[in-house]
Amino acid sequence: MFAIKNLTPADLDFIRKHLVQQTIEKNVVLFEAGKNGDSMYFVEAGTLKIVDRRSKDGSDDHVIAVVKPGGFFGEEVILTEGGVYKDTVVSLEPCVLYKLSHDCLQKIMLESTLTGTKLVLGISKNYREAINISEQHGKLIALVSAKDGVGKTTVCMNLAEAFSRRGKKVLVIDCDFQLGNCHMHVASPATPNIARLVQLEERLTFDRISKFIITKSDIHVLSAPDLPQDAELITRSHLNQIIQECTRHYDFVFLDVGCHIDEISILFWDTADQIIMVQKPDLTDLTRFKRLMTVIKRLNYPKEKFVGVLNQFESKKSGYLEQFKSLLPIEWLKIAADRETVETALFNGETIIAHASASEMVLDIDKLCQHLLLEKNIDIKEKTGMFSWLKNYFSGS
């Protein structure tokens, strides 16, 4: 019934006795954002959407999430003082819900503190994770693109090398969990890797994580799994723990993020101090970038969080620069195209910086590195996004 771990069938029966069943029809607004309430809901049957309602009739609803059977919502009024719903919830089909009010929870706690504790810990999971990821030290930089093959990994690995040559302690986490290949840039097989880490280590402390990090010269890489299917083993909770531990031990942690939009990608965008948008000047990349931006804009990140990089740039394609600027009006830096150098360096298992230090491409990467190291650019306090919203909401800011 509930997607909450550690509840035994006896716990579930006990909890269910204290809940009130409620049936609603399709398209019913269960509660609205900003309204006071004292109950959260568990979904037994049917589907509901959590929306940011921008017009009264709901014609301009922005869907934040869809809740299916087993899921729950509205926990903010139970967990925080004041009892105000943050979003609006609308049923997408006839639904059967179980309602848990403050009073019900108190009764559960009084009758069985242990079951009540498990329930509270279950409904507060997202909030607790958000609290745990708030104490970072090193800077987290995510490299994001709208399309594969734009050279994101090449830029990432070379930036890491440029940073480490400036005395910074740098880690690259290959977050393209199905098909990532950061390890190739350091001439290593994809073992050990992040999937082995989460399989073999129950406690993701840095001393355990460090055993799975590949090191070549001063570049440290936590590789993507060697088998695409192992990507399934890596959860958001694992990533929260790994990021938290690694940012404590490195000056900079680079996330080479896969180019698709899902819960895990959004976690990376949210937790990153800075997002480097790596794009290539061509029509397909431009159109895909436009679509990606429709999602990213909704997350209300501050503009300062972004740095644009137009990779594989050639002067004959300079018209694209304005197009990208119009979609994301920030500073865009260029990295010169040099396919031959990139391929030779990759065959040698080297970064371009190590292979051809005087090339135009290396000079451009160096400029990007200097840009990122400017304090005004890396001290991004306001991150916004879904997880940051949870943190801010809880802390009352």
Binding site: N6, L79, T80, T113, L114, T117, K118, V120, L121, G122, S124, K125, Y127, R128, I131, N132, S134, E135, E202, R203, L204, T205, Q244, F394, S395
Partner: protein
Amino acid sequence: MGIFKLEAFDEYNLLTANTSIYPDNGADLNEFLAKAISQKKKHLIIDLSKVEIIYSTGITELVKANMNGKSQGVGLILVGVSKSVAKVFKLCGFERLFKIFPTLKDAREGIS
């Protein structure tokens, strides 16, 4: 150095957690708490000053121990609760279940 350390004093037992409490520490914590409570000293002070993160397993063990302790006349006291752990306790409303003192010194003064 073990993850948990139990020391006996005249009026209380002191259980110190030397690292964050992760899911796989739950059984150890349970064992130490049970041992401390079985000695039936009036107070069991739990020093969490080295705990930056506490997972649900750890919280559940603390709540269970608090209930067991109460039934056996042992009061649990938490000290050195970090900002992030305090946030978790406040979020879940568990700060009302425990006596919490900022430092070990405060707890000693509070029980004497």
